[in-house]
Symmetry: D2
Subunit: 399 residues, 4 copies
């Protein structure tokens, strides 16, 4: 195991960290306040394109994509952690979900036409995208439950169904979504589905509502419930051809989970920072909070938990880098379970140390909690990943 970084990676980390500290953190609280004051918060405030332009100018742009940055997963991981401390940093560096995953898909599987039409403006940060996989009417943790269809008819593909938790679809710049649907129920179970590129303004596509997630709409990007009614597209909109949806989905998730998890670790570190500061400065019963009851123990346990989680993610990244996502399935599922739960524990502790203020939006903790909680369900609930880990573990004993 070797989690060491190249000189280039170390330099990127230093520059990203400095950019966040000097350009983003000073303006972020006001960004959130201003957004909250808007009548229509589904708005891109001017500070975002300004920051994006600066980041791009400095070469801190699309670093998630190995072909751009030359970074391995192990090397990109600390950048993702750094970005995770801020709610807007990922977008500023054009490294935000779900666009990163969609760009990877287009990069790896897109046709030249698909790349030109969609990948180029995504890489330029000019448009945004969504990913439509989860469905409201079935337990989507079991992919074979998927009910939406992408039927090839002649030189067209026809989409029907209903999706939800389509993150980013509310963003004013969202122009395209990737739809996953059933193409051939008679094919091998991993060859039944297709992924299709769908311009958002295609007839038959309707955003039925934007979903509250733990009471928040997460403007301006949001999470949509989207219906597809006889949506007709040329067959060339299918990514990599019919029946390859499952294969693409699998590949999409490995690095994506590294990113999600490292961002959560950044969020947990930020929360622990805030907890330490608050507990050192607030006083009750004649002492700073940090000297009351079990507060120091909780801070220490948070430190241990964060360290373990970070090492586990780096280890999974190292496995993806060295043996590939397929051979790292257990490790990827391990971080998918461990990291959100760890982050929830740390954030919850920080909220408690902040008293009532921790529940408001005066601190980023309450929003962080909701975000972390959603990641115990997004991309497969804990329980499904535990099942994967157990299956691979038990396999070692069959012989």
């Amino acid at each position: 195991m070797d989690f060491a970084h190249s000189a280039k990676a170390a330099e990127y980390l230093a520059r990203v960290t400095e950019f966040i500290a000097t350009e983003i953190e000073p303006v972020e609280p006001e960004y959130h306040r201003e957004l909250a004051r808007l009548d229509d918060p589904w708005t891109v405030l001017p500070v975002i394109p300004e920051l994006k332009a600066k980041a791009r100018e400095r070469g801190l742009w699309n670093l998630f994509l190995p072909s751009v940055s030359g970074l391995t997963n192990v090397e990109y991981a600390p950048l993702a952690e750094a970005m995770g401390r801020s709610a807007i940093a990922p977008e500023v560096f054009n490294c935000n979900a779900p666009d990163t995953g969609n760009m990877e898909v287009l990069h790896l599987y897109g046709s030249p036409e698909q790349q030109e039409r969609w990948l180029t403006p995504l890489l330029d940060g000019e448009i945004r995208s969504a990913f439509c996989m989860t469905e409201p009417d079935v337990a989507s943790s079991d992919a074979t439950n998927m009910a939406a269809t992408a039927v090839v008819k002649g030189d067209e593909v026809v989409l029907n169904g209903r999706k939800w938790f389509s993150t980013g679809i509310g963003h004013p710049n969202c122009k395209v979504l990737i739809f996953m649907g059933l193409t051939d129920p008679d094919a091998h179970k991993y060859l039944q589905h297709s992924m299709v590129l769908v311009p958002l303004d295609t007839p038959g596509v309707a955003i039925e509502r934007m979903l509250p997630v733990f009471g928040r709409h997460d403007e301006p990007f949001g999470h949509g419930e989207v219906s597809f009614t006889d949506v007709r597209l040329p067959a060339s909109a299918i990514i990599a051809g019919p029946g390859r949806g499952f294969e693409i989905a699998q590949g999409r998730l490995g690095p994506g989970r590294i990113h999600h998890c490292m961002r959560l670790i950044g969020l947990a570190e930020k929360s622990l920072d805030l907890a330490c500061k608050r507990a050192s400065t607030r006083t009750a019963f004649g002492k700073p909070l940090v000297n009351l009851g079990g507060n120091r123990e909780r801070i220490a346990q948070a430190r241990i938990a964060i360290e373990q989680a970070r090492l586990l993610v780096l280890h999974a990244a190292w496995k993806i880098d060295t043996v590939g996502a397929m051979a790292a399935r257990s490790e990827i599922s391990q971080i998918k379970v461990a990291v959100p739960n760890m982050a929830l524990g740390v954030i919850d502790m920080a909220i408690q140390l902040h008293g009532g203020a921790g529940m408001t939006d005066d601190f980023p903790l309450a929003a962080a909690y909701s975000g972390a909680r959603s990641l115990r369900l997004a991309d497969g609930p804990d329980e499904v990943h535990l099942g994967v880990i157990a299956r691979l573990e038990l396999k070692k004993h069959l012989s």
Copy 2:
């Protein structure tokens, strides 16, 4: 120990349960949807006064108040549990916080004038009220930190300071608040504070903002941050006279915590119901969710946790009824710690079994989670109550 109910209490329970099932539950989902659609959700929808009128007509009104209902705490507890299953039921029966606590205070300590002006319309459900104790600038878990002042000058009392988490202050019918402030810093530590009745429209009272709690404003009642700037009132607005604020606050909390905790138990039962239903009907990997992995164990653990919590609250109620709130301090702190944490565990489990839907407002679970979480801080954080319990426990060993 005797947690048995009189025939009268049993009859009340049957009638309250039936009212909720037939009058409230059928209309509640649409109530929430309608409220969410309003441009100004700080509105009392017509269904609320209609339901209130019906409840009052049937004699299911102000049952929380022993002098009205003749019920002990043990007897009222299951009514509070039943009401806790619905977000609006407590108000429908005129049994909602913080009005219940304020009515108790006025009933026990109010002058005839105070009672006529404020208690009567509160008991009639015509107005609502708020309670202003917690402050944003200090750790309010330590009451001696309180910075707001209620200074008696001649025949006036002058209020200054800033309060927050003043629940209910956003309600269109909120007309009065109870303010707690420091009157005499030189008095004995339990005789320094006063409680003052403040009409909401008194000059110098300003609602600075309505606070989001885990991203929700909880319209139409809400939680306010309120400033008091040279607010002048006649000294007769002081409840029970200067210096008795602490005494009143203590008395206010015992039964109030029973109510809060029993409502949470109702919420936990409701969440377990929903979890069982969802897990029995959704299918993944060819089985209902309930037959997958540890789901049955989690349902069983939830059942155990709820039973234990309910018995603990009944036990505390029985102690209040038989030996008084003072002698039941440990028991009251025990439920204050145990019940919200229990409820959070059950609700979180139910959310997980609902998948993404559990995070939206299609089910009452996400809102329930935020509400239960806030009760780990409201009325004193877990840590303070654990300290009380430990102190009383260790005292047994001193001799």
Copy 3:
């Protein structure tokens, strides 16, 4: 719910508590030290029969048996708790497992001859007994796995098989055991097994070894592995006739679990006592341990956990008393899961507060831990009981 005690029960409790405090506790430490010094610890030290005689003389004898004491389960429960504080008290009052369960079986199902031969000397405390149900070669949590046989041939019953965790079989006074085996594999699944009374000296019965349980042999009673090879007995040795073993086993367990759980609660209370004393008197870093870190919080959490567990057991006892063990299946399984886990947490905390001493036998904590741990497996592992609770919970939602 009514957990109140009759005057008679209250009086018994006062007398049992006083007897333990004045007669047992002063001599118990030396009892254990003396036993540990013996070359052959499978010995009944004279103090035991002396204490038994005293207890019997004072009428504190066989109180577990309703027909003797006239106590309900709710009333007996606090006596069991009191006895649970001492490792030898249950035997002193002739209220120790597994004899209590065996006496109940004989009382309810024994023939007059069986009662005269075995129940009378057991009630007199002259002999002891064992119960042989669990088997080493199968997962005994599933009763249908049972492999031992009790085949009726003419007027004889022939036993074959291997049992283990036969508690008490090492006791010098153990004269009889109850054996459970398969009689008729073709009968209804609840009518296949029989219980047979087996004198310990019957040919074919061999104690293969005494089992260490977490490194302890629990002398002088112990836990045996016992083989049965063509053990022939008259058919009259079958309790209540062939095929009724399952029915008897079910009935045996309800009150027995109340006893086990209440004794564990006594043990947890004792452990919390010790923890409070130790933590108040030992000093580190200039403070008593109780003022360091999270120690007070842990003491408070232990208090909450014990209170909840006791109430849960009383509730289960009340259900057995009022609607019977069959209707109280969920409640009985609930305490079977909740109480040992609670006790383990409290004892472990107490061990930690005792430092190294807590691991030795200078305090009863290390032995208490092993004993409590074994009760997460004995009479069915946690997981099986959780399954029962979940099944009954989900049934409420089928309609």
Copy 4:
């Protein structure tokens, strides 16, 4: 971070693993059974010196000592893990505590005479040693509580006091112990204590008793309570001179904790192996245990927990290797807390999956539990280490 191994380290690991698999594991169960059958289990069975000779012959000897093996802490760690799977392997490779720590001390601080007299036979595996630091009468977690004295009088040092948990002192080959005592109460707090080499047969040294640890005496090495009464030794028996005890103790602990923790990880892996095997082969309710309830989830959680713990230890080892034990204080305390607790969880789960058998000594699980539990107290209880971690964490925020 770089946890990679040199070719030499990888080769050692392969050879140690193979030696354990082919030479130790096949004979270990019979070793334990034979020892348990002995009247006097304080005996070195012949298989031990035979295995030691073989290991030494193959160059798998004293690998813990960098000056012998040339291995870093990161490189030695997996060897310790491999040895941790067996109760006797550490001794076979002459890598067992407390001798390893004592050899390190002698290697780093011993005079040539001390090294010749004690280090040489220890390195040869001819004698064993003990370490006497913890005291029965004070909370030894606070080093300043130490009451034993090592007073320099002329050219002699005189020892008085009482120590316990002196591991290894019962071993027939134990010839020397290292005693720590107070020399100069007026010196700076880190310069008050001395370490003294004490031949076991020195007049005034008395093993008062061998301590049971969770009911086990851990023969043939054991844990002693030792009294020192006017024990007189030449001043040359002091290691590195008077007043350096604290400094030596600190240095002794860093690598020692890596060893302990890695052995625990080996034990946890072994336990998980056993759990997987048992749960795959035992059947209840018509299914292998592994397909019942939450068993797979528990196996998965164990895998996650082990991976995180191992990475945390490797990280601490890497810090010791690269920046030294002083700069790695937080990391060392982190593993001291995290690893024993992790191991306890995994072992407990494995015990539960083994049913009653898990509590006996038919499997190494019950003994493993006791051993792991003792490590939550040995070398400082969890709570003290959490305090260290919190202090260092909070320091980052002072500025």
